[in-house]
């Protein structure tokens, strides 16, 4: 397999997607559309939209990481009767 083929492959171990994947669960917690919310990482100070974060899917838990320094910003656990959002390395949330 060459590098060109790899680009269109989806590997089971490649579970890093982007913040669009947590929009559904996060909007329930926040009561509004979540992907355009700007986060500032408490570790490195980088500012980015929720849509631009890196999301590692380990169902039922999802880890949201800073795209600049990979610090864990949010831990989200979506279970049938419980939705848990743990805020970790976030200094600021800015709602447009």
């Amino acid at each position: 397999m060459n590098a060109e083929e790899d680009l269109l492959s989806v590997h089971p171990e490649d579970v890093h997607v982007d913040g669009n994947a947590i929009a559904g669960a996060m909007s329930l917690v926040l009561g509004r559309e979540a992907t355009m919310i700007v986060l500032q990482c408490a570790e490195c100070g980088d500012r980015h939209r929720v849509a631009e974060t890196r999301v590692y899917l380990r169902c039922p838990g999802m880890v949201v990481r800073c795209p600049a320094c990979s610090a864990c910003e949010v831990l989200l656990v979506d279970r049938p009767h419980r939705l848990q959002l743990t805020l970790m390395s976030i200094r600021l949330m800015e709602l447009p």
């Binding site: 790899d6 269109l8 669009n20 994947a21 929009a23 979540a34 992907t35």
Partner: protein, 240 residues
């Protein structure tokens, strides 16, 4: 009463085979209030033993059309083999959404569009080109697929109603198709019209994570301002 965790019952009301490994599924969702082009839904399946699996899928239908997702089979996936090979009319599942406000297109944004899709990343692009067409917004599509028989929406892309399309194949050479990954020099030409750089062009990129990172890098190398770029990446468990 607001549904628990936003999940609402949905029923499959139609399926359409797109390729040997991709299927479009039309849904009837309770109290569906419409969606915006580019949004996705979370789909939850519950097995007889209570095991639940949730995945995100981009909507491939335009606003005003019935909600439809287009899914490509991942052989080791938990959800996609069911949706591609087994799902039939009348099947019940649960849906949350529509969700998303970043990777979306809405009328009023009359800038020309460049859509860059890899694999089943074409799904939200179909919603966007169908939404944009009635507004006269110019739309160009660059679509990367492994082989000619893996091109999703092939008939629509060939029709006059489809966007102006270039298809790049990564695993075979075939007449009428480009070959290989997207390169900055090819993309650079698409960022211009009549030899002049289009300053307001909006670029949407959707596909597997590796594809999106590569295409976004090539677009930036071609001189695209990052503010004009919107991306959506998927993997196992992410938007398909």
């Amino acid at each position: 009463m607001r549904p628990v965790h936003g999940w609402r019952p949905a029923t499959i009301v139609g399926t359409a085979r797109e390729t040997a490994s991709a299927n479009s599924i039309r849904l009837a969702v309770a109290d569906w209030a419409g969606h915006v082009a580019g949004q996705h839904i979370d789909v939850r399946l519950t097995a007889d033993d209570g095991y639940q699996a949730t995945r995100s899928f981009s909507l491939s239908s335009a606003p005003g059309e019935a909600p439809q997702i287009t899914v490509e089979r991942l052989d080791d996936g938990e959800v996609s083999p069911y949706l591609v090979d087994i799902a039939t009319d009348g099947d019940a599942l649960e849906v949350r959404g529509p969700v998303g406000g970043y990777f979306v297109w809405q009328p009023g944004d009359d800038a020309p569009l460049l859509l860059v899709a890899g694999g089943s990343g074409i799904a939200p692009m179909r919603a966007i080109w169908r939404a944009a067409r009635p507004h006269g917004t110019p739309v160009r599509l660059v679509y990367s697929a492994r082989t000619a028989d893996r091109v999703i929406f092939a008939d629509e892309l060939r029709s006059p109603d489809g966007p102006e399309t270039t298809v790049h194949l990564t695993r075979e050479r075939a007449a009428g198709f480009e070959y290989g990954r997207l390169r900055a020099d090819q993309l650079s030409a698409l960022l211009s019209s009549g030899g002049v750089r289009e300053p307001r062009l909006l670029v949407y990129v959707c596909g597997p994570t590796a594809f999106v990172e590569d295409a976004a890098r090539e677009l930036t190398d071609a001189g695209l301002d990052a503010d004009l770029l919107r991306t959506e990446r998927f993997g196992v468990g992410g938007p398909k």
